[in-house]
Amino acid sequence: MTDSTQNSTRIITLKLLAVVVAMFVFAIYVMPPLYNLFCDITGLNGKTGGRYQPTEIVVDTSRQVTVQFLATNNENMPWRFQPVLQSVKVHPGEEVEIRYYAQNPTSRDMVAQAVPSLVPFKATDYFHKTECFCFNQQPLAAGSSAELPLRFIVDQDIPDQLHTITLSYTLFDITGKFGADEGAVSALVEPDTATVENTALAMNRFANEPAVSGL
């Protein structure tokens, strides 16, 4: 092998190694954020994006869109978790607040994370959350309950063909994971009276519901 061949072999090898390292870095550090960005743009997986700053609001009173609310517990998440209303009809452009009821029936303090998902995917561009319990981890002390607020606006530009939007929250138990701070639980303030009243209402609602009939 001549010296010049050896030299160019070394150069090629280094260049290719650089590509290898670059692709590895690309896979770990670029693809996940790129994917999230892609999801935000296209509504892939029904991801709904972060907090929305309303600009100019024009309420379109000529039509209504039905927004449905779903709740799912992931794996062994033992909390009771339900939307207080199963669905609402809203005018595009108007800001609406609804609540999810959550109760930790266990004897341990826990932290939860709610993950939103919205269908149809094409509606994600037209659904904005101005306040959501899914923006933060939600701690609940043993045996306590809370009403978790969600404020949203359905965009006034939503196409006419879209009549129903379904928003689902899946509740994950993240106690002791992903930096969930159990200290946050003990620092919880007592729920204010209004919430307690609402909670009582919610409890009544559940009492009327049949238990899961597995037989």
Binding site: T72, N74, E75, H163, T164, P210, A211, V212, G214, L215
Partner: protein, 387 residues
């Protein structure tokens, strides 16, 4: 050499023409809907499934057509242009016309195929304005169906007996495609399915409805079906989801509207009746007997019928610290599941208080555990509510 080549060649030819003609014979058979040797996709019972079937057959016939031309030329040349036939090799190795031709023609065929495929896809994605919504959740290894706004929800488990699977009893006609509680839907209604999962990824698939959607934990997928004939339609989980992936079938029962309404009422009454039972105090023997049934249908898949578990994967119930320890811990494990091992699910939301009380009573007294104690449904309810 010459003769042997010939003979081998004849074999190849017979085989390939055999394949070709059986493909044609197949087309006839499909029309007749041969049951035993199921060879083709079902036409299904929804407008979408018939569209999909049409697309499938179109692309299939395009492929057959291209195949006949391509393989025809190929076999012609293999038979005629043989050295043993005295063929002399020519030396051509380029032809721009030909090469452009066979780039452009396939491209045009693809465009012809892409047009109907696009319109079918848009139809599949049009889930708006459904008449009713059903939430489907995949669990390891069962499905949960929740009729949104109807206050009806239940789990659907495989109910083929273990004896059939382990070849101790003759297999029934719907072997592995039968469940304890089918999903019941009305015909001639646009039913929207909201599909998610509790643990790992599953996929809900019913061929007759042409619905196959992945159930991803944390995310919701949607699809829809408009069934126009009453009947029973069977499907299976289509995404590897662990040990019993092959044992979580789907059965959809499509009923006329009035029968569906009646079913829905019965479902609600049954739920109320079970709820009423929660208040009742049961004898030990009643709980034990019911518990044995529940154990075999719910627990035995992992913990095994004898309670010995599978070492390294599924813990034993026989002599376990939970089943022979304090009642509170046992309730905690069954109602809320294990916080360490996700394979042990939370059964609190899955089975009734009566069944939880029964199965706990059974586990504490079967397999030589002999704890002698039992728990009542009302205690389970109190535990669930955190009291």
């Amino acid at each position: 050499m010459f003769i042997r080549e010939r003979r081998l060649f004849a074999c190849l030819l017979v085989l390939v023409t055999g394949l070709g003609s059986s493909a044609l014979a197949l087309a006839d058979e499909m029309a007749e809907g041969v049951e035993r040797w199921g060879v083709n996709m079902t036409q299904g019972v929804t407008p979408v499934s018939r569209d999909v079937y049409g697309l499938h057959m179109d692309i299939f016939w395009w492929c057959v057509g291209i195949g006949v031309v391509v393989f025809g030329v190929m076999f012609y040349t293999m038979i005629v242009h043989r050295k043993s036939n005295g063929a002399k090799a020519s030396n051509f190795h380029e032809s721009t016309t030909l090469e452009i031709l066979w780039t452009v023609v396939p491209f045009l065929i693809l465009i012809v195929m892409a047009i109907p495929a696009t319109s079918s896809l848009l139809k599949i994605y049009d889930t708006d304005e459904a008449d009713m919504d059903i939430m489907i959740t995949g669990y390891q290894w069962k499905w949960k169906y929740e009729y949104l706004g109807q206050e009806v929800s239940f789990f659907s488990n495989l109910n083929t007996p273990l004896d059939q699977i382990q070849n101790r009893a003759p297999k029934g006609p719907n072997y592995l495609l039968e469940v304890d509680e089918p999903l019941v839907i009305p015909v001639k209604k646009k039913v929207r399915f909201l599909i998610t999962a509790n643990d790992v990824i599953h996929a809900w698939w019913v061929p007759d409805l042409a619905v196959k959607r992945d159930a991803v934990p944390g995310y919701v997928n949607e699809s829809w079906a408009y069934v126009d004939e009453p009947g029973i339609y069977r499907g299976q989980c289509a995404e590897l989801c662990g040990k019993d992936h092959g044992f979580m079938p789907i059965v959809v029962k499509a009923l006329p509207q009035d029968e569906y309404d009646q079913w829905l009422d019965e479902k609600r009454e049954a739920a109320a009746a079970i709820k009423a039972l929660t208040e009742k105090t049961f004898e030990f023997d009643e709980l034990y007997a019911q518990g044995e049934k529940i154990y075999n249908s719910v627990c035995a898949a992992c913990h095994q019928p004898g309670g010995a578990g599978i070492p390294g994967t599924f813990p034993a119930i026989k002599g376990s610290p939970i089943a022979t320890g304090p009642m509170q811990a046992h309730l905690e494990m069954v109602v809320h599941g294990s916080s360490k091992n996700p394979a042990m699910q939370a059964y609190g939301p899955q089975i009734s208080e009566v069944d939880i009380a029964s199965v706990i009573t059974y586990q504490r007294n079967a397999f030589g555990n002999n704890m002698g104690d039992s728990v009542q449904p009302i205690d389970v309810l109190k535990f669930k509510q955190g009291k």
